[in-house]
């Protein structure tokens, strides 16, 4: 036999516990710790709707608990035949009307926010000098990596989105192959990267990512796109407008050759081993690269979006990319190195070179 009351207590206990634990979500990625205007709006909707839903659940629970405790046969006796009640128009009206009211309460902000978040009219507004007043980033999703182009600035980067705080940033999102979805949980809800059309939306970033434990916000691909869908991560660096300007200027400069000898060998190898055919090393450019632009590789937080950023992992990645991201589009060394794996020296050199690629210093 069930004891409704006991169960209910258990439930509240569990719920309380879980709400406590929920606070432990990481601020780099939790929608419960919004770090941008859009996420904040959505979080507010979450709170509002949770309150309404909690109300619904409480009402149902009260009636429910009373019903199953008061009318048990063990209390009423086996012979009792209850009155066969047909129904009640009054009650029917009541429980039609109240939910309608509740629905209206959540419907109004829903409609408002739907239009507000889709409002990209100011995207193409030009300032007097012909430059754009707002920053626009073209996002291209590819099997398992992300490319970010800044058309106005003439630069392109990959895997790490760099954006200024406290202003609207507009995004044009499209896919180069299968469908993906662009999602930065703590900054705002997602939008799909479709192969057939460009989707447009905006986000704002309120917090500088350097304040975070990990130094970056986490971005995710949220649409199943193949074996490595789970690994199609990207990172977001937010900085104040000034730092951002600096970053853009640094990106626009032609990269200089590294001073370190090992890295210079690496640079050579990078050309010899045809890496350069897929990877650009200059920040100036447009989308369309076969592989990620590596101009900022030294500043990265991760290798290939997932591995901790150190030379060990970098070398392991170059030697066997499939091991880390099954099905990704970067070939094995054997395919461009006469069927051989790269030697340890070659790897060291390449790693040194790649680590030297930086625009932030």
């Amino acid at each position: 036999m069930i004891n409704g009351l006991k169960k209910w207590r258990l439930f509240t206990l569990m719920a309380a516990l879980i709400f406590f634990l929920a606070g432990c979500g990481r601020e780099e990625i939790s929608t419960l710790i919004p770090a941008g205007g859009v996420a904040q709006d959505q979080f507010n909707l979450l709170l509002l709707s949770s309150a309404v839903m909690l109300f619904v659940i409480i009402v149902v629970t009260i009636v429910y608990v009373l019903a199953i405790t008061k009318f048990r046969r063990s209390k009423l006796g086996d012979e009792m035949i209850p009155e066969q009640v047909e129904g009640s128009a009054k009650l029917e009206f009541l429980w039609t009307a109240i939910p309608i009211v509740l629905i209206i309460i959540i419907a109004i902000p829903t409609v408002y926010q739907t239009f507000d978040l889709a409002d990209t009219r100011t995207m193409d507004v030009e300032a007097e000098d012909g430059s754009m007043t707002n920053l626009t980033v073209n996002v291209v999703a590819k099997l398992y990596w992300w490319e970010f182009e800044y058309p106005e600035q003439g630069i392109v980067t990959a895997q790490e989105l760099v954006v200024p705080t406290d202003q609207r940033v507009y995004f044009n999102v499209v896919s180069a192959d299968v469908k993906h979805s662009f999602w930065i949980p703590s900054i705002g809800g997602k939008i799909d990267a479709n192969p057939e059309n460009t989707n447009t939306f905006y986000l704002t970033f309120d917090q500088e990512s350097s304040e975070l434990e990990d130094g970056v916000f986490y971005g995710k691909c949220a649409e199943l796109c193949g074996p490595s869908h789970a690994l199609m991560d990207f990172k977001v660096k937010t900085m104040n407008a000034e730092d951002f300007e600096q970053w853009v200027t640094a990106m626009q400069e032609e990269p200089t050759s590294p001073s370190d000898e090992l890295a210079q060998t690496g640079e050579q190898l990078f050309t010899e081993k045809t890496c350069i055919g897929c990877h650009a090393t200059s920040g100036v450019g447009t989308t369309g690269g076969v592989g990620p632009n590596l101009a900022t590789f030294g500043d990265r937080n991760r290798v290939a979006g997932i591995l901790e950023h150190n030379e060990e992992n970098l070398k392991a990645w170059i030697q066997d990319p499939q091991q880390f991201k099954p099905g990704n589009q970067m070939p094995d060394p054997s395919s461009y190195n006469n069927g051989e794996p790269l030697t340890e020296q070659e790897l060291d050199a390449l790693a040194a070179y790649l680590m030297s690629l930086s625009v932030e210093q």
């Binding site: 959505q42 429910y64 959540i106 829903t110 409609v111 809800g189 997602k190 939008i191 789970a230 997932i306």
Partner: protein, 626 residues
Amino acid sequence: MSSNAQKSGFGATVWDYITSVDHKKIAILYLMSGGLFFLIGGIEAMMIRIQLMKAGNDFLSAGTYNEVMTMHGTTMIFLAAMPLLLGFMNAIMPLQIGARDVAFPFLNSLGFWLFFFGGIFLNLSWFLGGAPDAGWTNYASLALASESHGIDFYALGLTISGFGTLISGINFLVTIINMRAPGMTYMRMPLFTWTTFVASALILLAFPPLTIAIFFMVFDRLFGSHFFDVAAGGNTIIWEHLFWIFGHPEVYILILPAFGIFSEIFAIFSRKRLFGYTALVFATILIGFYGFMVWAHHMFTVGLGPTANAIFALATMIIAVPTGVKIFNWLLTIWGGSVSFATPMLYAVGFIPSFVAGGVTGVMQAMAPLDYQLHDSYFIVAHFHYVIVGGVVLAIFAATHLYWPKMFGTMLSEKLGKVTFWLFFIGFHLTFFIQHFLGLMGMPRRVYTFGADQGWDLFNAISSAGAVFMALGVIIMLVNVVLTTVKNERVGNDPWGDGRTLEWAIPSPPPFYNFAQTPLVRGLDTYWIEKMEGNKEGMIYAEPLGDIHMPNNSFLPVVMSFGLFVASFGALYHPDDLPWTIPVIVLGLLITFGSMLLRSLKDDLGFHIHKEDLIKDREGVKTDGH
């Protein structure tokens, strides 16, 4: 299981079931194969949970995980939940309306075999080069890019079984429209019959878009068309629309019969007439109706634009109202009743909080801007397992206990039944409640692994632990079935004592012709009325005892379905440039259409049971089915 099993040998029994057109035997076939697929889907679920139990686990590889996850969803929805419900509809609905069988017994059998061969075909993919791996939603761009034949197995398998389901839907509709016993007006039909009716109507109108979408998929992948090929002007969003035009009604196809089952249970075990019967009926119809106007809530993030999103968001929220009407009417049915907590009622009582929790998260997802965060995260996984497991699966388990005596003539053990319930119920909440928070903490769905740096380890571990409880519950249920069948204690017409509708007025299991005389229905809960008036005979009859006309058994449904099965193999390997594919397609279609032609040319007039045999039967002398 059936009484002539011992009499005529195992082979004969099997043959009898394979060729049977009796709705009760077909129901058992549905139950067995649906149950089998449920176990397969459940094992796949366990594999998912094992893989996700800790960060960076390597129990399944990335590719395999996608296959397992896809097959879990597909199997559970198409091959487990729906067939199990169709099984109960088959077993019970004709009895509830006092019919001798469904309107088209032959098609009933055909519907089953199409489903069965479709399901087998789909699952053969495991052994023939890889299962489908693009999710149960099979979105077009990924599905076209997928290299193995898995997607083709998905497309062709679901085509075959989809035809089966459509046929069953039409069959039930016609049965309910035409074959109700005298006096059984629409507003006297039991709620399970009503929900069968509306769910069948949804099948009728929702499966065609799926069939067409899959048709496009087959042609794109196997015969060179370009519906979804963006480079040639195609558009993958068409798949999404067609899939969800089907997909959303589909979830109501699942939940409405579950609602029906619970409605019966609440009335029986509260010993009380359903509160607000009329409201329940209209709520059912409304849910079915709205079900067709909300599909784009699965596509809020696709970029359809704010107008479409707003309209579909509002339309979706409305569904909470008729559903709420149902919840409250059930509560008021319990209220003032005499509630016995037998196992079916336990499930029904467990269902209410579980389903309400799942329903309200659904409404939260309907708020488009909020859904931008929730979509494709574990929040969604939590939502739909709350409504599906907390609604549909609990209903299937409840119905298993409730109708087992009616179908097999013996009661499942109450004690083991309650153990199953508690294990499953606790495990269910443990597994899925926490997934809401995983979603909110940024965990996307359909990920085969996650890094230790995301902060999701603990909750995933808890979730996996919960799944173990569910598995234990299911295993105990299997034990229960075996023990009960071995013990085989026979029960009477109305084993629960408080049966209200017609199916409880006849023996358990019913004779193969159901009602020797068609009953006369005098009101809602007609058997209850007779009982309360002290009618010793059980029912009042609308006709004198006379000869009964019955349809013949037939092997043709198996052959027809098998033909499509064969043809599908031809189509599947068609793009591989093998010489035998076209002949195999032709051969398969010849088998199917040939047997269709045979069926329509050969007059199959059935046979009669004579009055004398009926009288003998009533006096307890068993007559054989054939």
